[in-house]
């Protein structure tokens, strides 16, 4: 790069930095966010557990309630268990689901499990100082009408001012999207399952 080119690049980037700095300075509100990870792509729960990791690193405790998946059987278990004890601020994990609806084959049981999970959420929301609450696959429980959307959204909106909540699952209901601060759709562009590749340890579970 010639000296002239370098100078032009520097000038352009100085302007860009000024715009960027002004943008950051204009944002002043701090609040607990209601976040939703939805869509049919991968990464909805994985990104939520990534947030849990980040929040633990910032010294605030984290709660996790799983609405569909049952017993802990994923790779996160060990590392997150290790981060559940001092000096870490604490992580509390509740797997309250009993599996997907085609596994339980019993709708009344599914509804009862979702209700128990929801009661655990209300208990955790009342916990002083909690930094982040991960509500894994709550969208699925709402989608199958295991819980009334209005009741759930009203309680999430009334959360403590400093509590961040992340809700995952396909088909986020419109009322939840409406109430949320941040909604990300994980969109499937290309998937190896369609090429006959199976779910692998450390990646899918």
């Amino acid at each position: 790069m010639t000296e002239d080119d370098a100078a032009r690049h520097r000038e352009k980037m100085q302007k860009r930095k000024a715009v960027q700095d002004a943008e950051v300075a204009g944002k002043t509100v701090e609040k607990g966010l209601l976040m939703v990870h939805t869509g049919s792509g991968k990464g909805k729960s994985t990104a939520a557990f990534g947030l849990a990791l980040r929040m633990l690193g910032r010294g605030r405790p984290v709660g996790v309630v799983q609405f569909i998946k049952g017993a802990w059987s994923t790779g996160e278990r060990g590392p997150l268990e290790a981060l559940s004890v001092p000096p870490w601020p604490g992580l509390e994990w509740h797997s309250m689901g009993e599996g997907f609806t085609w596994e339980t084959q019993d709708r009344d049981r599914d509804v009862a499990a979702a209700r128990r999970a929801w009661e655990k959420v209300l208990e955790l929301m009342a916990r002083p100082g909690l930094g982040l609450l991960v509500l894994d696959e709550l969208c699925i429980a709402l989608r199958y009408d295991y819980l009334p959307v209005e009741e759930v959204v009203a309680a999430l909106v009334a959360r403590p001012a400093t509590l961040h909540v992340v809700v995952t699952g396909r088909n986020a209901p419109p009322a939840l999207v409406e109430a949320a601060d941040l909604v990300t759709e994980m969109k499937l562009v290309k998937h190896h399952f369609s090429a006959g590749v199976k779910a692998q340890e450390g990646i899918e579970f």
Copy 2:
């Protein structure tokens, strides 16, 4: 739910389970995947670090190379450092970037930093037993032509058969998407920055 309804539900779910089981049984290939997290939404890097957590939990070491961001300053640092020592399989983190291009304001320096980062990637790819390699913001380095796309894609395609690689960043180049096994677009549906909310500890960093 009446007994008839319950029986109908059960029958429907049994059929669904049979379909599901057959689908799973049809997938037999095991291989290290080339994954891409792209799009303008949140969660690209966060989900990649979530995968790192999962892979560590499965007992295989993880490497991270950051192409743009400089010094570790995010919440993941502490927890992932704690998971970098025994009994954990080990995590090696290299922040090789010097910040965004409007911060460095020096293109030659950006190109040199990307080249150093890429050399670190080649070194890690040759490391026997590595389970996952996170190439954070590599798409940005490709987008600004800090590195030639063909060279990068060719090396990624030639990776060891059991090594999973996840590449993050906006604007994934078509040649990378073409070569990948799994591509997810994190799509912004709604963002709190547009409501004046600032980046907050434990969430954005």
